[in-house]
Symmetry: C2
């Protein structure tokens, strides 16, 4: 399997990306196809004394930043890592693409270069959230701001297949993110989406409140990209802030410092589930080829996990399963 | 000051409501006007041996539950605590109303019985969120599901005046809840709201991401009731779950139990800011009279604080300030 790896995205720089790739490579073989400045990549691999039996490096000197307009940028920056990667993917020269660069550019490339799966109206960003009993897949987590209720059905189908193929969950429970659990709650969009999902043959369990994102009541939770992004970032913000405050409490005085030493390992284990690096990446669902968005502040550990996730996604043919399901067309009961 | 107190709302029953009222009364004098079953209220007060110098009890035998349709219920259940309270408020027989009952019914009563302030298009539920440096007011936190962008300006004006009059914040910083900080981010609604807020003479600081709800970058954050509810409940859900998990870690083994004893008081102090009971209630902004929604699971402490908050809101003439500002009409620069 040839995996395109964008060495220019991300806040932590090329070092962590190459380190993470090598760590993954040592556990599970694949062909890394590094995208970026060829010389710089070679120098880094030499500097770290990494030995890859099988490797490819493709020159892509440009980078699309978060300040660029995504749709314009993918037309103008033809030599950017993301555009070069998307073209390789479209031409079957790589099997998957991972980037921690601009989500917008990745999304635009997925739509205009790699193209959407026949029958899917919108590409969605899907993110795993840690829950009390495992994890929940939230989509759309920020790709589509203004959604028609019909998109929610696509999101639910894609999320269900993803969980089934990658985590082995049989008939995943699908929830609709809403302001109350009762039918009839919410805005115009969510009421219409509720009707559409109710008529599908998915395992639709109804509305799910944002406070239950963390309780694990549903395996997949669907929403528009605006609400999904608000839910996700509120979740992340509170978790990060609370964990930081908690850690600082242990620094209060001698007594709390001793307390910190005694609880450290147990606390670390508990907090591991809130570490985005353990999950790695988020697939763009609805595209014809595997494209994974890694967190902007990914380090080597996050990269390693994003690669494992990408391999699993690709090996398990999630995309062809989605295509098959849509071709069958028996979505409604 | 006569404060109407709904003794039928809330999950914890009448005991906590009466206890909280008495605790508040012992610190700051006001006239409690209990709404509910007269005999039951009298019996409870006797049972607890509470002495009020000044008290009123109004018979209101019915209750509107969360299962009732709010608009229908306020027409049909004329003897419910909320409808009786709203009528007393409208007739100037009480100065403020507190309820931990159905938010929908409270909202419907505020619109159809107490009425909106002239010039305000929608009533908003405003909630304080704890931040790293104090607190942020979020509105609308769930009253209006489908909003026009123009409502956001009302929310921002009302929130700013509330913070100025109640917390003494000069020229409060107003943020727009959005998926990114840059101008041009978001859905159609938030882009239009951004334009409207930019043209106002409020201290508009631009877009605020949901992860910054907790960082205190803005004093007031405005959004529609759907997004506000999602943000708020995601925030609450994660905070509650993390705190619960953290506490359970201290029960792991002897070492962690000792650790827990050593850090207990410091941790308790830190966690106090995440306790909704410390804030008490959320005003319905945009109504002609003070109406406070107390949390559904309010106990005596939460009630006590909701009463203090209601007194402060009423004494500081927040509503007449909003009316004045709207009458002046110089909202745009």
């Amino acid at each position: 399997m040839r995996i395109g790896i964008d060495t220019k995205g991300g806040d932590k720089g090329i070092d962590e990306i190459i380190k993470g790739t090598f760590e993954a490579y040592n556990i599970q073989r694949f062909t890394p196809v590094f995208l970026g400045d060829t010389e710089k990549i070679k120098l880094k691999i030499d500097e770290f004394k990494y030995k890859f039996d099988d490797i490819d490096i493709i020159e892509a000197p440009e980078v699309i930043t978060n300040e660029d307009d995504p749709t314009l940028a993918i037309r103008r920056k033809k030599n950017s890592t993301i555009v070069v990667g998307a073209n390789l993917l479209s031409d079957n020269k790589i099997d998957a693409l991972i980037s921690s660069g601009s989500t917008g550019a990745l999304l635009a490339s997925s739509i205009f270069i790699v193209k959407r799966i026949e029958g899917i109206e919108r590409t969605a960003l899907s993110v795993f959230l840690p829950t009390a009993i495992g994890k929940t897949l939230l989509l759309d987590a920020g790709a589509n701001m203004d959604c028609k209720p019909s998109y929610f059905l696509d999101f639910a189908i894609m999320g269900s297949i993803y969980l089934n193929k990658v985590l082995g969950i049989n008939n995943p429970k699908v929830g609709l993110l809403n302001v109350g659990t009762e039918e009839g709650k919410g805005n115009k969009q969510s009421k219409e989406a509720f009707d559409i999902l109710s008529k599908s043959n998915l395992n639709f369990i109804g509305n799910v409140e944002a406070r239950d994102l963390i309780s694990g009541v549903a395996d997949v939770i669907v929403c528009d990209g605006f609400a999904g992004n608000i839910a996700l970032k509120s979740f992340e913000g509170v978790a990060i802030s609370l964990i930081r405050q908690m850690k600082s409490v242990f620094n209060n005085n001698l007594k709390t410092k001793i307390s910190g030493l005694l609880v450290k390992s147990s606390l670390k284990e508990m907090l591991k589930q809130y570490d985005y690096r353990e999950t790695g990446g988020a697939p763009l669902l609805g595209v014809k080829k595997p494209i994974f968005k890694a967190h902007g502040s990914s380090d080597a550990l996050a990269y390693k996990n994003a690669i494992f996730q990408t391999i699993k996604f690709t090996e398990n043919n999630v995309i062809s399963e989605i295509e098959k399901k849509l071709a069958e067309g028996n979505i409604n009961e």
